[in-house]
Symmetry: C2
Subunit: 153 residues, 2 copies
């Protein structure tokens, strides 16, 4: 289920959760609207210099908690954020250009649930990230960074 998200929807969602609609928040959300393929907190800080660093991070935390954006990490561990276009999804991350994609994998979910039974205890959540060299980068033959552990466990 893919959902087209607009800034106004995000604002409405936040207001529903009891948060105020303030100018800095509106500006940050508008800025997010333009970013389809992942961004860093520093991107926002740089783009919106009149908004305090702390406010940017606070708003990111808010949006994370509201499930509007999600946090993931590049193959080297660098944090990235991305607008969540779907209810439940996972990410592909291009190791060369950093572009973030989404995918759905009901099968994987089911297998993980089975594994959870074997492991003992109860499953709280999971994190799946697929590191790829995206079609564009592969076409341009951009060399894949020789990260020490390309298979990240």
């Amino acid at each position: 289920m893919t959902i087209e998200i607009r800034g106004s929807d995000i604002l409405a969602a936040l207001e529903n959760q009891g948060y105020r609609s303030t100018l800095p928040r509106r500006e940050i959300i508008e800025n997010l609207d333009k970013r389809s393929d992942g961004f860093t907190a520093e991107d926002l800080v740089r783009d919106l210099p009149h908004i305090g660093r702390a406010t940017v991070f606070r708003t990111i935390k808010l949006l994370l908690e509201a499930g509007i954006i999600c946090k993931l990490s590049l193959i080297n561990g660098e944090p990235r954020y991305s607008l969540a276009h779907a209810e439940h999804h996972h990410h592909t991350v291009c190791v060369t250009c950093g572009t973030i994609g989404e995918f759905h994998a009901g099968t994987v979910e089911r297998v993980l649930r089975l594994i959870g039974n074997e492991v003992g205890g109860s499953i709280i959540g999971h994190r799946i990230e697929l590191y790829i060299s995206c079609a564009d980068c592969a076409r341009q033959n951009i060399p894949v960074p020789t990260a020490g552990h390309t298979h990240v466990s």
Copy 2:
């Protein structure tokens, strides 16, 4: 395939890769031997105060590159390291006590390869972490921390 790893094996592996066997490295590796369920860089820095911070981090990086340890993150993003006992595996992380476990999931691997084909581009690697409340914590009824997004995408 589970492998019992001893400090001497690790050292030999490093030497094979052209790294010298030095006192700080031997001490760090010996210290790892005692840690079955994950550790942080700060744990090592604290345990080995006569070894420089930079050296600890340098050695961790070395061991990561050699595939002897692996890096993962708790549900809140805190970094953790763990001895890699098997060729290819994934981790379970207890969200309450932080204990790290391992599991194998050929099915998941296969599904991810299929997804890679759909996504376009070529797969470089993947990261799968299963967040659980481990058997011990579940038995003791320790409440699971209400992380904003328990399903980490």
